[in-house]
Structures are given as structure tokens and as C-alpha cells.
């Protein structure tokens, strides 16, 4: 899978997990607190309903007290005078006080006077038998033991519940003896519940507990409600919640359940809040993810892609000088930089390898040619020798030509030897000598032109062990090069000194010097600036010195001269240097004859 896809998947998964966790947390914490708030709110509303109802009772009670503690009533209950009746037991009294019943009861419990009024139809009606029966069954309603006694509450009639207030009948000075009880009563029917609902601005429903068709939620509420838990809260559905309260009769027995219904706006608000929260979380995650992708894309992926394309195209091409582009200053740039470093290394190594392979091939070929040239050279030399003998001294011109042939054969032989020396493994035959002796032998084989003066400042110490033949050839080679560099004359200075277990030989001339470009190649085989020469001189010198475990270096300045420095160990480390420079072709080795 590509990095881009991976990143997208990771971001999307992380977002989903994050939102899910937050959703669950907010659901539990927020909704729980919202539910608690809703419960509390519902209870408060139910309490409000109950307090409104209690106000109704207080009002009924106080009206009843007004009438009961009045000298006229006090008199009326005893004499039932018409004046009182006509003045007070009239429709307007019922309508003003909003009661259905007004009952005067004497101290023995008999209704001495009373009137019933239909508030709905605004007409007088007969006192129902149920009311009379209620009074005969529950003497607590009318039996007042002292002047402060007061009874109010609900009583259940077969047709409807009844709200009633009962007060002892006293004088206007609230003095007895108590002449009975005055009862104000009102049907607590649906109209009354509706009126209450309007007061509290809540839909209210009331049921009697003895109702055979009690709805299930009322049943549940009634079983949960008790004196200790006067209010019960229960959500009806997603939109509404209900609070229930029990109402007792005058004797303290539960008879009614009132339900106040409310819209679940708190809870809904909570849910909406959570939805908004989750939605905004999703949006935030999307924006966040998009930003991360954008950043990743811009800062990493595009550049990484470019780098990959770059590297793979470089891999396909054969251009060793190709490099990847480096931008910025971060890890990717460092990576690009290291890739470039690697490419540079590969380029250098490849160029070096190609070069050495070329040299090896040339060397191999040259060695083969050199070997095969030996026999024809021998033939030419022999033939020239024969002719020279035959012709004798008779013809000097012919003699000269033959000598030229012999000279060129010798020179060709030298080239062959150089080639073979260069390619052959070098086996040193060490002898003890001194720097002075070594240089003396070398100088004796070189013809120094008259216009060149030699300053020989070579010491005779320390004693060194070298292969005399090879070392002599090396010195001769260097001295010859110096002389050739000074065709118009000059000075060749030879110096030596002991240095940390080595002897340093310095050959300096005052010749033409070597250009910087040539200086880099002088130890490369087959490189030469001379018209006649194969370019094996200095490479062989280098081989010889390195075979002794030493070093050779050349410094030069155009028109000023060249300085060659040889550092040779007093006791050579025979393993020094490269032992085989060119592998000899097997066919040229003498060990087999089977071929």
C-alpha cells in the first residue's frame, strides 16, 4: 500500500475512534446531567401544581371561615331565618366563591340547611344523596372539637372527587359554643383540573386510584409513589415527560393521581447539543485530517515522490553524473544529500574502476605483444649481425644502416623489458648498501651533458637494504628525466637525509617543469610527453619504490624545475606496494607444457 493511502486510512480511523470515544463520553456525562436536570425540573413543576392546588384549598378554607365565623350564620344554623337564607343562599354566592355545595350541619351531624348549585349550567340542583351519605359515613368532616378546628381536603364521591372545606360555626368573635359545621365543597372534576392546568400552564390529567381503567403509566406511578416518594417522574416518549403526584383524602388515604405533562426541551436540548458536538467534531476531524494530508502531501509526499522518481530514473539511466535535486533543510533533504553523496562515491569508484580495467586490459595486451615481439626481435638482431659480418668494413653506409637496425632492436627490447617489468611480480633481491654508493652506481651509467652541472650532496649514512638492480634503474630513470628536462643546461641537485627509519632522496632540476595536468598523470602507465617512449619509466619507478615499502612524490613548477622525492625504508617491508599490477595471461606463464 502506498504511504498516501496508509496516511488517509490512519487519519480516518483515528478520527472515527476519537469521535466515538467523545460521543460515548458526552452521551454518558452530558445526557446524564441533562436527565437529572429534566427530572429536577419535572419535580419542581409537579410541586408547583401541588402548591397551586394547595392555594385553592386555602382560598376555599378562608372563604368558608369567613362565613362560618359570623354572627348571622351562628344564628341561622339555629333558627334558619329567611332573611339570612334570602340574603346569602343565592346563586351569586356560589358563583363568586365557585362552589357546588354549601351545607349547614348542626352539632349532631344533621344537614339543617344547604344548597347545591350546578356551576356549569348555573342552576340550583338538589343535594345528591352521595353527599349526604359521605357526611354520615365520615363524621371527621363535620365534627369540630374546638374553635380552631378546620378540615379541608378531598373526598371521593361516586360521581366525582370533591374538594371541601369545613369550619366550626362560631360567633363573629370566634367564640362558641360551636353550633355545628359549615361546609363549602366543589367538584374536583375535569373542568376543575383544566382550570388548574391553565393556572400552571401545564397539561394535567387526573385519575382516581379506584378507576378500573387506570392507564398503565398511572398504574406504574401509583405503585412507585408513597409518602416518602411523593413525586414520581417518568418519560412518556422522546418528546414528553410526566410528573405524578398522589393526593390523599381527608383521612390521609391515597385516592387520586395527578399527572403533569411537560415537553422534554431540556433533554432534547441536551441531545441536540451532543449531536452538534459530534457533528462539529466530525467537521473538525475532517478539517484537521485534510490539513494533515495537505501538510504531509506538500512537505513530505510530493517531495518523496519526486525523490523516488529521481532516484529510479537515475538508476535506469547510465549517466553517472546525474544527481537528485535537494531542497529545504530537513530529513528529506539530508536523505537526498546522502543519496547524492552515494552517487558521487559510485561515480568516482566507477570511473576509477573503468580506468583500472582499461589499464589492466592494455597491460595484458601489451604484455602479450611484448612476449611475442621477443622472437622476431631476436631474428632481426641475428640477421643484422650476420649481414654485418658478411659485409665487413667494405661499405660504411650499409654498416651504418645495420647498426641502426641493431640500435632499434635494442630500444625495442628495452620497451619490451619495461612492459614486462611493469606487469611482472617484483621479487626483490636485497643487498646492503649506502645512499652514496647507490647514487654513484646510477650516475656512472648516465652520460651527463656538459651544460648540466651536478651537485651531489648524498650522504653515506645510514646503511640501507635495497634491490640494487631495480633501485639503480629507478635512480637512472629519474636522473635521465631530469637531464631531458634541461636541454639548454641547468643544475641537477641530489640530496639525501635520514628520516624516521627512512632515507629521503631528493632529485631537483632547473628544467622546464611539468604542467599541473600532466603532473596528475605521470605515474599512469603509457602516459608520456616524450616523442620516443612508452610511458613506463615513472610507473616502474613507483612500483619499485612501493615494492620496497617506500613512497615517491613529484613537485613541479613550469619553467622553474621539478623535484622528485623518494622515501625508502632503511629495512624494506617486503609486502609493501602492490605485488601484481597486471595479471599475466596464463598462456605466457612457463609452468605448463600440456597446451
Amino acid at each position: 500500500m502506498k504511504m498516501r493511502q496508509k496516511t488517509i486510512i490512519i487519519i480516518v480511523l483515528a478520527s472515527i475512534v476519537m469521535v466515538s470515544i467523545l460521543y460515548v463520553i458526552s452521551q454518558t456525562i452530558l445526557l446524564d446531567s441533562f436527565a437529572k436536570l429534566e427530572d429536577q425540573n419535572t419535580r419542581q413543576n409537579v410541586e408547583r401544581v401541588m402548591s397551586a392546588l394547595s392555594n385553592e384549598f386555602s382560598e376555599l378554607n378562608s372563604k368558608c371561615a369567613d362565613w362560618a365565623e359570623w354572627d348571622d350564620t351562628y344564628a341561622y344554623v339555629q333558627d334558619l331565618n329567611d332573611d339570612y337564607k334570602q340574603a346569602n343562599l343565592v346563586d351569586s354566592s356560589f358563583i363568586n366563591i365557585r362552589i357546588n355545595f354549601l351545607l349547614f350541619i348542626n352539632s349532631t351531624g344533621h344537614v339543617v340547611s344547604g344548597m347545591a348549585f350546578d356551576l356549569k349550567n348555573m342552576t340550583e340542583m338538589p343535594i345528591p344523596q352521595s353527599v349526604i351519605q359521605l357526611l354520615s359515613v365520615s363524621d371527621a368532616i363535620w365534627r369540630h372539637e374546638d374553635t380552631n378546628s378546620s378540615v379541608n381536603g378531598i373526598a371521593l364521591l361516586p360521581e366525582d372527587p370533591l374538594m371541601l372545606a369545613s369550619r366550626p360555626i362560631l360567633t363573629s368573635q370566634r367564640e362558641g359554643p360551636i353550633r355545628g359545621a359549615l361546609i363549602f365543597a366543589r367538584y374536583f372534576n375535569d373542568d376543575e383540573v383544566e382550570r388548574l392546568a391553565e393556572t400552571v400552564h401545564l397539561p394535567l390529567v387526573m385519575y382516581r386510584l379506584d378507576d378500573s381503567q387506570l392507564p398503565s403509566d398511572f398504574q406504574e406511578a401509583s405503585s412507585s409513589l408513597s409518602e416518602n416518594a411523593p413525586i414520581f417522574v417518568n418519560p412518556l416518549n422522546a418528546d414528553s415527560i410526566a410528573g405524578y403526584a398522589l393526593m390523599n383524602n381527608i383521612l390521609g388515604q391515597p385516592i387520586l393521581v395527578l399527572r403533569a405533562e411537560m415537553i422534554r426541551d431540556v433533554y432534547k436540548q441536551g441531545q441536540a447539543t451532543i449531536s452538534y458536538l459530534v457533528l462539529s467534531l466530525f467537521a473538525a476531524c475532517a478539517v484537521f485530517g485534510a490539513l494533515i494530508m495537505l501538510l504531509l502531501e506538500k512537505v513530505i509526499l510530493i517531495r518523496l515522490g519526486k525523490l523516488i522518481t529521481n532516484v529510479s530514473s537515475i538508476g535506469k539511466r547510465e549517466d553517472l553524473s546525474a544527481r537528485v535535486s535537494v531542497t529545504g533543510n530537513d530529513e528529506l533533504s539530508i536523505l537526498a544529500g546522502s543519496i547524492n553523496g552515494m552517487l558521487t562515491e559510485i561515480e568516482n569508484k566507477t570511473v576509477k574502476l573503468q580506468k583500472s580495467e582499461r589499464f589492466a586490459a592494455i597491460g595484458e595486451l601489451a604484455t602479450m605483444v611484448a612476449h611475442d615481439l621477443r622472437n622476431p626481435l631476436q631474428g632481426i638482431a641475428n640477421a643484422a649481425f650476420y649481414l654485418k659480418r658478411k659485409i665487413g668494413l667494405k661499405d660504411s653506409k650499409q654498416q651504418e644502416m645495420l647498426e641502426l637496425i641493431e640500435e632499434d632492436v635494442k630500444y625495442s627490447d628495452k620497451i619490451v623489458n619495461d612492459l614486462l617489468d611493469y606487469s611482472r611480480e617484483m621479487q626483490l633481491q636485497l643487498e646492503e648498501t649506502t645512499p652514496q654508493a647507490l647514487v654513484k652506481v646510477a650516475l656512472s651509467t648516465v652520460e651527463i651533458p656538459a651544460n648540466i652541472s651536478v651537485i651531489n650532496d648524498i650522504g653515506d649514512k645510514p646503511a640501507i637494504r635495497v634491490d640494487m638492480l631495480y633501485m639503480k634503474r629507478t635512480f637512472v630513470n629519474i636522473i635521465r628525466n631530469a637531464i631531458e628536462a634541461m636541454p639548454k643546461g641547468g643544475t641537477l641537485t641530489l640530496r639525501s637525509r635520514a628520516l624516521n627509519g627512512n632515507v629521503e632522496f631528493i632529485f631537483s632540476d632547473t628544467g622546464a617543469g611539468i604542467s599541473k595536468e600532466d603532473l596528475r598523470k605521470i605515474f599512469t602507465p603509457l602516459f608520456t610527453t616524450k616523442p620516443k617512449g612508452m610511458g613506463f619509466g615513472l610507473p616502474i619507478c613507483k612500483r619499485v619504490v612501493e615494492a620496497h615499502g617506500g613512497k615517491i612524490s613529484v613537485e613541479s613548477a613550469i619553467e622553474k624545475g621539478t623535484k622528485v622525492t623518494l622515501t625508502v625504508p632503511v629495512e624494506p617491508k617486503l609486502k609493501g606496494g602492490e605485488s601484481v599490477w597486471v595479471d599475466m595471461p596464463k598462456s605466457l606463464l612457463l609452468t605448463t607444457t600440456e597446451a
Binding site: H371, R374, Q378, F385, R389, K390, T593
Partner: protein, 150 residues
Amino acid sequence: MGGHAKILIVDDDRSIRKTLGAILEEEGYVVDTAENAKEAIEKTNNGFYNLVLVDIRLPDMEGTKLIASMKDTTPKMVKIIVTGYPSLHNAVEAVNNGADAYVFKPVDVEKLLKTIKEHLEKQQESKKYSEQKVAEFIQTRARELTQGSS
């Protein structure tokens, strides 16, 4: 000059056989040639040569091995190894195998002629010496016999 000494040149290179042969003939030697070791062995078995010049590399055998095999059959023949591959190892092997001399290619003809001449003279001397010894022995023995019989 060479007193008609017989020389065998063993070399696989035709021009060397020819040119060297011409030079040696010019010096008064009787020259024979062989292209390879097989031919050289046949020739030395069938005829007498005072000296043999063997190239160290032959198509069928190494020159040093060839002279080793000639050592038993023709011990008195002077054996010279010619090599284009100068090395201590080659030289030691050549001498151990019974070579009398060892010259490098390309051969300095003057030097070669000198070497040949020296070795042939040495051979001649030892031959003379042994002939003299034989003569002396015969004389002594004859004297002893005449004395013994008398």
C-alpha cells in the same frame, strides 16, 4: 674456426633457427636444427652433437625438461638454455637439470658466440685430457704387462 663442431639449435621460431644457424655456420660450425623437443630427442639419439642450444619454451615440452632428459643419453654434450623469461627460478632449474650455460633473449650474438666457443674449448680439453689419461693408462699397463711377462 669452430673446428667443425656440431651444434643443434632447438627453437620453434623459424627465423631464429635460420638466422642463428647462418651465423653459426659462418663461424665454421656444423649446424642442425629441431623445431620441438621430440625432434631434438630423436636427433641427439641418432647422431652426435657437441652442443645444443635449447629455447626454454618449446611447443611440446619445457626446455629445462628437455635438457634433463638429454643429460643421461648425451652427458658430454654442452647444453645451453636460451630464455626470453629471465628469472632466478628458471636459471636454478636450468642448472639443476644439467644446463652448462644460460643466456637471455634477445641474445647478444657476440656474447653467445663467446659462450659457445668457451664451452666447446672446455669440452675439447676434457676430451684431450681423458684421451691422454687413456693413453697413459695403456702405456703403463703395457709396460706392466711386458715387465710381468719378462
